[in-house]
Symmetry: D2
Subunit: 409 residues, 4 copies
């Protein structure tokens, strides 16, 4: 039995409270690699749009743990066997599924550690923790990597209806106040079942799955791909790119040690020794914020201006359209800006750029969401849904944006 | 009329959304001094206890603005005259009432700017913004400082039943998940009235006021004075004190410019030139976090250990008692620690210390909460309440704590 | 000014509290025709499926009043002129828009007062109250009937985005616990505007309107047209039909006076004298429930069995399909039942029947929801939405059901 | 294992959803004695004050079932052994703990079945159901009656911190919108433990217990003993008393069969044969409402006036005071009324009366709430609480009211 002093309960504004189910999991939560997630914003810079959204990767991971406990309870009640070892491995894997995220979550993958995904970094972290815990994470890692034969265990962690999505959609809806994106995670979980070691949703859950997909679509367009949020993230990527550029050219630049290391060194996945991982682990949102405040006084116009724009939420103008903006439009904005502030075209490009945002609410080509009928039949949810064209959700929607400085009044 | 493009609405998880009522207020919100509040945690390090509580001073200030709009609406509906100029001044004053807070809110008043309260700093900031806005904040500042004759306007901003408390209790309860501390702010506001320019609560609101006081008491003991939170804050004060000590003694120390300035210089209120205010404004939670990560590798045992304790949430043991701990107990813990790590008594004192926490749920000696009876009589709420000994809430409760390192297993 | 003792505030679990804005409105709320709505369930027998859903027509009407106050505030803030008289008329009209509902809301229109819609009855009630209030409801009635030139006032009461829908979707979602149907009513209202006296939604509100339509679709299929709820309602219609039949054939039957009158008399709209209206007003859910309990002991097998089925929630089996059930299937079930209990085919038909349920989430042919662009253009929301096939929501979806007795174990 | 088709999930606005844990429990829920609770308002006539509060005894019972499942889970996780048979018995006992309530809950105990408490009636119902289920409720009944040796099982059902209170306080707070009465039921449950077969709260739960007691006190004064609600309940008791009086005197009176039986017959507990129990079971709120609507046209002034007052919410004036009203005051009001409407003093007494309301938030003399310290010590919560005078909550508070007709404007 869990010793009393480690049987912990944590408050959560959404689920009321979250129970830590075992001593091993308690110890993993106490690990510095997990605790650092307190300093990484779950939604990056989205708080510039939704000022309530300062929740962290740590709380999201704990929320996933909570939902996974519900899922285990529901499945067992339906006769699905999950051994105590599998159960604990599930909890560990979901807790650590995002442990590889860097500062401001996704922005870093495009700057600091270009080309190494956070999923790969999560595995590196898990391996490292596993070593410290003498192999107790073996099964968790196997499940996470999809190498364990009972595939539904992996699907609970990573699929189109995993505990990750069930928590983050609900949580992000809660903290942003976008109530239309609220989903009934517990109800969806109550409709899960397993057949042939595959995760299914029972027939009566079709509506709930539909709503889940629609809520997800909503959250993408209204929140994750909100044009102001996209602009802020693009600025963040560019401020780090500029810092790297200046640093590479020998400029004096305020940087913490860890940031300095990653701006200086091109690191591939293979390079990640335990020491480098430790250095990466010491990076979080605060380094970038602290650095930008110093940079806001830097003599380089691009670096200081970009920094101030983010810090003071004085962002670029963003225009969304169905077609990519013309090269002429971009050139004209760049030209104007370059003339006004005496910038090179390269420098002006930091403030005038375009891109696209795209979302597919449901991916049919991937492993889909399966509906299990009372008679034992199984169909993809898109085919099971009889009164709504879910297929529309399966085609990607792409929009284009152009960013340029706001004309000042 | 407000130009369409500045009539802004912000999402808030608590009130649904918050309306920005005028262009001037919109511009004040966009000011960098206000935007910096995005980087200051409303509850300091309480998120180490309540992982959902990462909301910021910025959102709290906007929440207060929202409640103030309700209050103006309610009072006007009851025939209380509030001119448009007074109305706008109220909104400005409540928005900026906490703009003077530094990193981690209260902790800084005991380290960075010892002896200058955040209220005083708020006034300095307001004056500075007022200058930039050509005196448009004159009335707001007069109300905030209590210099405007219609005293209820000031009471709406600062009293035992002000919009500040009505927002922060509700908000902190919401984000921590301590639902018992939830208060019905809108209902309390609906019961406000004004007589002889003084703020009153109508007779039927007695229960609501009682509950408000009880909820406040609960939040103090369960949240604001939670022993783990207190320990974390004390460690934070000590890590900065040690940094100052080392820096003063000539040690090399990673610090941003602003932190360096304030650790180096003893600043009194009179010293705050616009430049120094600007430097102070550039300080926020991220500087302290970023610095502690660097310090966690410092050669000084005290500085590096304290830093790691906070970052990794590996805090001291805290024992609460009704009596102050004995000098012997403190000495014994210090002695043990000094022996174990070869520390001087002064150094050991950074890890072994005691203190007290105290709260008075309701202060009778101060300007109290007045109940207005239908017959025009006015009584203090403590006397008005007829079936519960509210006086018990008016006596301060003090507890003592001792902190020392956890015995490792 | 409103006399203090009539400035009332009511608690509402959804909006916190609802303010009664004037003395006249207070007096209308106190009228017995409005108070009777306390005894009429907003969702009919849906509480047999969703046990939390016992909210009443009275609370819904008050909720609409609350939202209308928001709408007036928002529109005025955008420069739309609404005179105090128009304002009060809006409140009265929305308060009374459903006052004509009979017991269990919609079920009665198919039995008690066949052929007289509740909207027509609402007008009859409004006229009657207007007489008692010396014509003070003239403008409210004109707006309600669409006879007032400023058409947006009527649209706020009755259109595809009226305060009625904004309240009932939110409220029914809340009380059923179907959180996916929650809509952000206040946010939708904040995006309303008026051009050429027509109600519009501002451009930035497109997503919110989409979500509103999707939530509405969800609530229809998951709640309002839930198969068990449909079966219960059909049984209720049939129990009353049977009572009428028996009563017409001279059987002794327990009935209150009002129920007796309406089962005995075929009443058209033209027949509604003030006396008959008063008799209708005395009917509510309790009469039907009380009667069914008496009927459950009646010697007629059909009447007593149907009554018990509803009272004890021992309902028929319902099978949903995309095609209408075959005549053979119906005949076979009827035949089986008739044989088992020695019933005539007509009697068996009370327990075996089919029907269809249909819903159109958005009606394009009707006056649609108009989107107002910043450049002044106006488009229907279906055309304005650029990344989701809203047209799919505009085609009616029909399903068929067959009901027959459950095979007993 | 539970057959799939009986593993039911119900929506609940508060807990999300409620799971029916076994087939036996499913069958008990389907029993007509349980289903009738759908027609009995949990809070009597309180909906005349709080219009959202139409929730039923059925939903409250299901909510208790849900909390009991949490309690079993928590206690087992702490090593408390609860056998599957005990578990099911707990669920049955809590489901049926209030099944003996009559129309409008408490009002009936003072009129219809004077002198037979609802608890006694609950046992009679349980015995009857037990017979139909061949003794499967034996253990549940033993636990409910306190005859089972493991006393904590009974305490979970009935004590000062039982699942009943944990549900009804939360639920009534939710449905009335009195958010200050919200309690964190799940958190309180998480702190339960058992020592020597007695229910305890762990030390860290002291604050939560305090808050629970304060919330309970609040709900009593603000909701359950709200003066308007008290007046309505007193009127209801009197309308039935008058009906009984008239009926006894041979007047013609509309009554359903069941109501007639109980107004005619004085029934003691010993009289309750299965037939009489069945008659009682057929009584619910609808009978009283339907009867009052008929009575509102009765020739007896007292009966018709009282009925209309309740139906139209046109209640008496209520004045609360610390001292009982004087006999002179009562006599004067009665005299005035008698003169105005030509009533006998006895008749006038139906409209002019006084009484008292009293509440004790915590009863020390009874079996108290025990706090279990880490060191194994046990203390009553009143002694355990160190910074708040909980003893104040243990003294009864009594207030007096006088009711008389409102002076009409």
């Amino acid at each position: 039995m869990v010793p009393r002093n480690k049987l912990k309960i944590l408050n959560d504004p959404i689920y009321g409270f979250i129970t830590i189910p075992s001593e091993l999991i308690f110890d993993i939560i106490e690990h510095r690699y997990f605790q650092r997630l307190r300093r990484i914003s779950q939604m990056g810079l989205s708080y510039l749009v939704y000022p309530g959204a300062h929740h962290t990767r740590l709380l999201h991971a704990l929320g996933c743990l909570h939902l996974m406990q519900s899922a285990v309870r529901v499945l067992r009640a339906k006769g699905v066997e999950i051994s105590p070892k599998e159960e604990e491995a599930l909890y560990i894997a979901i807790l650590l599924h995002d442990v590889g995220h860097g500062p401001f979550s996704h922005a870093m993958e495009h700057s600091i550690v270009e080309g190494v995904s956070h999923e790969r970094l999560s595995i590196l972290f898990m391996n490292q923790i596993n070593e410290e815990f003498n192999g107790k994470l073996d099964l968790a890692i196997a499940i996470f990597k999809g190498e364990y034969p009972r595939i539904f265990l992996c699907q609970l962690i990573s699929s189109q209806l995993d505990m990750d999505r069930l928590d983050y959609l609900k949580r992000d809806s809660f903290y942003t106040g976008v109530v239309e994106g609220n989903i009934n995670s517990e109800r969806l979980i109550s409709m899960l079942n397993v057949m042939n070691d595959e995760l299914m949703v029972e027939e009566k859950g079709i509506y709930s799955v539909e709503e889940f997909l629609l809520a997800r679509r909503l959250m993408y367009w209204q929140v994750y791909l909100h044009k102001t949020g996209v602009a802020a993230e693009q600025l963040l990527i560019r401020v780090l790119k500029r810092a790297k550029e200046l640093f590479g050219a020998g400029h004096q630049l305020y940087l913490g040690n860890a940031l300095e290391y990653f701006l200086e060194t091109k690191v591939t996945e293979a390079d990640f020794t335990p020491e480098i991982l430790e250095t990466f682990a010491s990076l979080d949102d605060s380094d970038v914020l602290a650095a930008m405040k110093q940079w806001s006084h830097h003599e380089d116009f691009v670096l200081s201006t970009l920094s101030r724009m983010i810090l003071n939420r004085d962002l670029l103008k963003v225009v969304i359209s169905k077609e990519p903006p013309s090269e002429e439009a971009l050139a004209s904005h760049r030209h104007q800006l370059a003339a006004k502030y005496d910038l090179t075209p390269h420098e002006a490009g930091y403030f005038v750029f375009s891109g696209d945002i795209t979302n597919t609410a449901y991916r049919m080509e991937e492993e889909g969401i399966k509906i299990l009928y009372k008679n034992g039949n199984v169909r993809d949810v898109v085919e099971a849904s009889d009164h709504f064209n879910l297929k529309a959700l399966a085609s990607p929607v792409t929009k284009f944006y152009i960013c340029y400085p706001k004309p000042k009044d």
